[in-house]
Amino acid sequence: MPKTATRPALVQPVAKSPTGIQGLDEITGGGLPRGRPTLVCGGPGCGKTILSMEFLINGARQFDEPGVFLSFEESVEDLAVNFASLGLDPRPLAARKKLALEYVRVEPSEIQETGAYDLDGLFIRLEHAIDSVHAKRVVLDTIETLFSGLSDTRVLRAELRRLFNWLKTKGVTAIVTGERGDGGMTRHGLEEYITDCVIVLDHRVVDQNATRRLRVVKYRGSTHGANESPFFIDESGLSVLPITSLGLQHRVSPGRLSTGVPDLDAMLGSKGYFRGSSILASGSAGTGKTSLAGYFAEAACRRRESALYFAFEESAAQIVRNLGSIGLNLEPWVRKGLLQVHAARPTTSGLEGHLSAMHRLIEERKPRVVVVDPISNLISVGTSLEVKAMLARLIDFMKVKEMTALFTSLTIDDAHPEGTDVGISSFMDTWLVMRNLEVNGERTRTLDVVKSRGMAHSNQVREFVLTGEGLKLLDVVRHEGRVLIGSQRAAYAPVAPVAPVARRSSGKRAPRP
């Protein structure tokens, strides 16, 4: 094959064609290698065809690069109908000559081989389609179907090699899909011919939950994320969530906002959380995590800021009712639309499904404050590593948008809640640990600030009470070198002493609208 102009010199970076698929361009550092074929492989139903079609449709819509979709599996009508349901209807683009769809039907039962042949017929059809729309992008889905109709694999292999070289001389950026094989990445070893870029898709079921993964196995001449990244397919097509985070380049805000609990504000340098920060509240069952989250959301609403509450344990109505019992009336805010509670069982969909829903809701509603209650329940639908990666992604995403997020986490070991969350706490700017201490036959709730980046904060463990008037953090009472809690405190000091900082917080809440 003659050396073509598209072959870059060694020192030049590889020219890239953006896919327009959220996340994928990020992992590949700008898209697929321009003017070269890329192999996308995976098992049945892994999303190869959707990725390919989106590459073409985005190319035609956003980058003024018309495309050709050569389908070996589905007829043009079937393709159009299937993709219309994903919001990727190719027909309008086809009508405007921005897209050509061609179905190559290989019907083994009506084919008889009678001597020497080549695939010139395919070349001619492809060239005709490319010329008809002046295509810059081509998809071959799935060319391995040819192996089912033609038995001379030696000829086929030679012809495929010729086809891929020919695509390069045409200067089109191509996606060639391949079905996962037993021995290699594809059934017929397409990876031997397509060496510039290989992307593997995977659709597996872990604990009855389907999860999708994408990995760039190889990208010649370019750096790329090599991790498996979760991706999901919803009404808006395909989105990849790179495990690697968006980076730590977001702006930081010096602004502060109330925790919703005046006593806690006082513990955090009298001002509360940083705006745009992420907060982790961890503790075992019944330590008051949801209450804390509820006050945080309510405080946002009172500032007329919208809040989005993701509930993975209770229904929206249940949360509103239960928080009402501790003097927190969320209902008016829900009615006003300032507070939206999105409740879902973690097991209702895979990790990608939740990610998808969360991302979409956050994008749509642009809340100032987000609550995820509890993040630990998502562990039940993914491995803890995945949850961690997804959390990092979500946190970065919200930080860029300057949203303040509170995550609750249910810990198992009450004595050492820090241990359970050590993995995710590093993403968090403020970490509150809530405990349920059992002393002398009674349970006492406590709260302390394990860390809070960039602000002076109290290092005391405070007794935490849920009253009909809201959350209170009681001051520490020392007696004979011991900290008194619960009934002991009451016995020692029947009237709870109130520290100067806490005074202004006790008593009435600010008036409601």
């Binding site: 290989v106 010139d120 017929g121 059809r125």
Partner: protein
């Protein structure tokens, strides 16, 4: 090469015959393989289908838009339009036995074992 039809003299008379063979040979340019395919086809027809066939040669280099209709991807391909069902013979027809089987002029070979 131009697309063209070759008819045998008696073809019109036998059109009603269910055994009339309507054949279409797809090729790409005047390559050695195209010429061989046409010669092989002519020979088979003369020997086995004398007087009851029609051959239409379609050169896809000149008329690429015609490849879609008969779902052509390999070349040369001979399409038996009639009698039905449609059969596709891929290759230059140098393997006469297989060509005859493909045209249903020989019974399908039982397994070779």
């Amino acid at each position: 090469m131009k697309a063209k039809s070759r008819r045998t003299g008696k073809s019109r008379k036998t059109k009603a015959n269910p055994e009339f063979f309507d054949l279409r040979l797809y090729i790409a340019g005047q390559t050695a393989r195209s010429i061989a395919a046409l010669a092989n086809l002519q020979r088979i027809c003369d020997e086995h289908l004398a007087g009851r066939y029609r051959i239409e040669v379609i050169d896809l280099v000149e008329r690429p838009q015609l490849a879609r209709g008969d779902q052509i991807f390999a070349l040369p391909t001979l399409v038996r339009k009639l009698p039905e069902p449609i059969r596709k013979l891929v290759g230059d027809l140098s393997d006469t036995e297989r060509a005859l089987v493909g045209l249903d002029l020989r019974p399908r070979a039982p397994s070779r074992s």
